[in-house]
């Protein structure tokens, strides 16, 4: 009697464990949905700052694709991404790299354009904006401040 009860409890825990694994694998499989059904486009960025396979591609805050691969071609980052079927990208769509918050994850934002022509599967997003190099901009600001004349109006020395 006791043994049967014990076995029952073990069985329940096992079922819960398998249930959790099943739930987890379904969740992960959802991420592969784009890879199996979407269409591929590419874009070149002069600075890919932290993009990697799996990075989300977003329009108006909605995830519509994922980065498939990031490589180097002619000293620029060549990014291949898979876009959800049914999402049309105009030829003058602009792809830019944004950060969640100031130091968070990177994602690619696509801003729709006005062109009547869509980007075909396998095509390229022509216009991109590189990742903002915050350190360089801050450095420039500091450099600029140092270059300003001091209070007495003397040129910087």
């Amino acid at each position: 009697m006791k043994k049967a009860y014990l076995e029952f409890v073990v069985g329940v825990f096992l079922a819960i464990g398998i249930g959790c694994l099943a739930w987890l694998s379904i969740k992960l499989a959802k991420n592969d949905f784009f890879a199996r059904n979407g269409y591929e486009v590419q874009a070149a960025f002069s600075n890919a700052g932290g993009l990697h396979p799996g990075t989300p591609v977003v329009i108006a805050g909605v995830e519509i694709g994922r980065v498939k691969s990031v490589g180097l071609a002619e000293y620029e980052a060549k990014v291949r991404m898979v876009i959800q079927p049914g999402v049309v990208l105009q030829k003058d769509t602009i792809a830019s790299i944004k950060t969640k918050g100031l130091i968070g994850e990177k994602y690619i934002e696509l801003t729709p354009g006005a062109s009547d022509n869509p980007i075909k599967p396998g095509g390229a997003i022509r216009d991109t904006q590189p990742a903002m190099d915050l350190e360089a901009l801050i450095g420039k600001y500091i450099q600029g401040s140092l270059a300003k004349p001091d209070d007495k109006g003397q040129p910087p020395h």
Partner: protein, 202 residues
């Protein structure tokens, strides 16, 4: 220097160097106009502005800049509204550019062209503008071929696209208010821009 240009720039057409050459020509012409002592008088101020405007009109494809900046909202407007928008937006941008040129050209040290890339009828030209305080500002021009002319449809300053910047702004404005309000705001800004520019010392 030439080798460096060849190494950095990749051209797929025999007309390699054309986009850079045309941008360089327009830039040099505008800088010459700004520096010309004969044009620095009050009397010839508007003549100088018109000459600079002519240079800009030749090199910049205002219709595409305006259309591209309005982005997904463009298709919803009527032909008449689209024409009006191009006219207002390009006037506003042009006045703003000329104002900036007049205010800051004395700080300019030099412009260096780093290389270009041509794919089909599109090109991008990378340059850097150095100011007298030793700061270097990267600039990228994006151009489309129109006959023999390469015309600018976007420019990136410090890596930020002008068209994308306006797309974001227009998206926000149109989400919060109406297209009519946007047009009214543009109209209101033009006389301001003209007044600011006119108040610049020659």
């Amino acid at each position: 220097m030439l080798l460096a240009l060849v190494a950095v720039g990749v051209s797929l057409r025999a007309s390699a160097g054309e986009p850079t050459a045309q941008i360089r020509a327009t830039t040099d012409d505008i800088l010459a106009l700004l520096a010309d002592p004969a044009l620095k008088t009050e009397a010839r101020n508007s003549e100088r502005r018109q000459l600079i405007q002519k240079e800009l009109d030749r090199r910049i494809d205002w219709a595409t800049v305006a259309r591209s900046s309005l982005g997904r909202h463009w298709a919803k407007r009527t032909r008449a509204e689209q024409t009006e928008f191009v006219s207002l937006f390009s006037r506003l941008l042009e006045e703003t550019f000329i104002d900036k040129f007049e205010t800051h050209h004395a700080e300019l040290d030099k412009v260096e062209y780093l290389g270009e890339k041509i794919i089909d009828e599109y090109a991008s030209v990378k340059a850097q503008v150095s100011t007298k305080d030793q700061i270097v500002h990267p600039v990228e021009y994006r151009l489309q071929k129109s006959g023999k002319d390469w015309r600018i449809y976007d420019v990136l300053l410090e890596g930020v696209s002008l068209v994308k910047n306006y797309r974001d702004q227009f998206d926000e404005i149109l989400a919060k208010s109406s297209y009519e309000k946007l047009v009214a705001d543009l109209r209101a800004k033009i006389p301001q821009a003209v007044a600011v520019a006119a108040s610049n010392p020659p």
